[in-house]
Amino acid sequence: MEKNFIIAGFGGQGVLLAGTILANSFMLADKNVTWYPCYGAEMRGGTVNCEIVVSDTEVSSVHKQDTDYALVLNQQSFDKFVQRVKTGGTIVANSTLVAETKPRADINYVFAPMGDLANELGTSKVTNMVALGVLSSVVDVVDKNFLALGFEKVMGDKKKDLIPLNKKALEIGFDAVKI
């Protein structure tokens, strides 16, 4: 088993952090994992993305053109990465900022108002955690409980007070879409 994820959005939406938490959740689940960011000029224009590969064996290519899953938080990222999802793969989009269109017939679409759900919790800063919650509800290999542990690992002892809110965001995301 080897699966690829791309997480993309505006700078400031917590995209790289969401990827880091996802990668940590895989590490805590004893899987092989890599995290690879876009960097340099690729970052200009306000969008950022990172790629996560999870595998039962050693990860081969950490940076690929196509992906099994794309988690996109804004329209620009949707437009770009919908083209890079493998046939049969899934794009998970933040419908607060992404129009619910389906430009390709050979992939799956999941839309959830991640930004609105985060705002209902009082801050758009947890949009990324809502997004990871949504992802865990539609992708088997992504585990909500390991995501919570991954969040704790990334935040360390200094930011413990953020844990309850972010766990709640995960839960809300997880419940947002019923397939």
Partner: protein
């Protein structure tokens, strides 16, 4: 950070922290993508530990600061990337001639010239053969995972002092920027006694001079012979490589650095298709495992070199094979790493059509 706990960490930060664990006393550097995080990380850590950190005015200055610092017996390093490493070639030649344990980390980007910040492996020649003057050799270690970034950093500092020779840790933008689970453990290498040569002031002894050349021709000739005797010793003791499924293989995929990951995955796919494919991966690019490759070639095993440049290691593999079997090349100059699928289909073609030289994809 010294424990067996696995942490998800970037290659750049892994190298930086491993250097600290290895006893880094001084860091000198100048920013360049994709390795800037190393300097940023150490700018926070080094002052806290009461150790030296200098934002050098150029790479030229940075490497020469390392030269000065290591001459006093401490561990020091600089880190940089391709086009800026080019600026350091003069000092590397000096460091070899002066027998100074300089440690240089090169997180490769694309060239020639300014090139771009895409990952690439175009500094094989610059590292292994060097751009400095005179006869000299550098020890070059090429990690393929973040864990190896840590392990080889420990090894780099040890080898540099053990042999009084510069060591290059040759990583690439992919390794520098990616995160992967790794653990620091403890630096496994012993301390090296530098008291017989380090500059610490002429107290109860005569003054020492560290220099590469003198006006005495005989001494100079002998100095170079001595250096090459040392290089032979390094070759004998330190040449290292990894191999997988070599025994029954009729084609051996060969790569260095992070491309190793891709050839191993391609090997698995090709084996599943019934093709007898193995993998060979030099860990030390210098000293290069010529002898092992030569022996495998004599058994009739064919080589396919996969690298992100126009065929730089390819030449060394051909030199080692020396006509005893066939050598092919699968390559791309820079940018997106050759994918497992691309490697698989290129190798299948080689099976069908025989050896192909310079199959640029």
């Amino acid at each position: 950070m010294e424990s067996n706990e696995k942490v998800l960490i970037k290659g750049n930060y892994a190298i930086a922290q491993a250097a600290v664990n290895a006893g880094l006393q001084c860091y000198f550097g100048y920013p360049i993508t994709p390795q800037t995080e190393i300097g940023e990380y150490l700018s926070g850590v080094m002052p806290e530990l009461g150790k030296a950190y200098v934002c050098a005015e150029s790479e030229l200055a940075a490497i020469n600061m390392v030269l000065g610092a290591v001459s006093t017996g401490v561990r020091a390093m600089t880190t940089s990337s391709s086009c800026a490493v080019a600026l350091m070639q003069e000092a590397l030649s000096y460091a070899c001639g002066d027998e100074l344990p300089v440690v240089l980390v090169n997180v490769m980007r694309a060239g020639p010239g300014l090139g771009y910040i895409y990952p690439a492996q175009g500094d094989y020649n610059q590292s292994v053969y060097g751009g400095g003057n005179g006869d000299y050799k550098i020890i070059v270690l090429a990690p393929s995972t973040v864990q190896e970034c840590i392990d080889y950093t420990y090894r780099a500092f040890y080898l540099a002092q053990k042999y009084r020779n510069p060591v290059i840790l040759l990583a690439d933008g992919l390794l520098g920027q990616m995160m992967e689970p790794a653990s620091f453990g403890e630096n496994p290498y012993p301390e090296v006694d530098v008291s017989s040569w380090a500059l610490t002031g002429a107290k109860s002894r005569e003054g020492r001079a560290i220099y590469s050349v003198g006006p005495d021709e005989k001494k100079q000739i002998q100095h170079i012979y001595n250096l090459f005797e040392k290089f032979e010793l390094i070759k004998k003791n330190e040449t290292s490589y990894e191999e997988f499924n070599i025994e029954d293989a009729d084609i051996i995929l060969t790569a260095f650095g992070s491309m190793t990951r891709n050839i191993k995955a391609a090997m698995t796919v090709l084996r599943d298709k019934g093709l007898k494919v193995g993998c060979f991966r030099p860990v030390t690019l210098s000293p290069f495992p010529y002898e092992r490759i030569s022996n495998l070639a004599k058994l009739g095993k064919k080589f396919v070199v996969v690298e992100m440049n126009m065929g730089q290691m390819f030449k060394d593999v051909r030199y080692a094979v020396n006509g005893k079997s066939e050598v092919s090349l699968i390559n791309r100059p820079c940018g997106e790493w050759l994918s497992v699928e691309e490697i698989v289909s290129a190798v299948e073609n080689i099976y069908k059509k025989g050896a192909c030289y310079a199959t640029s994809i």
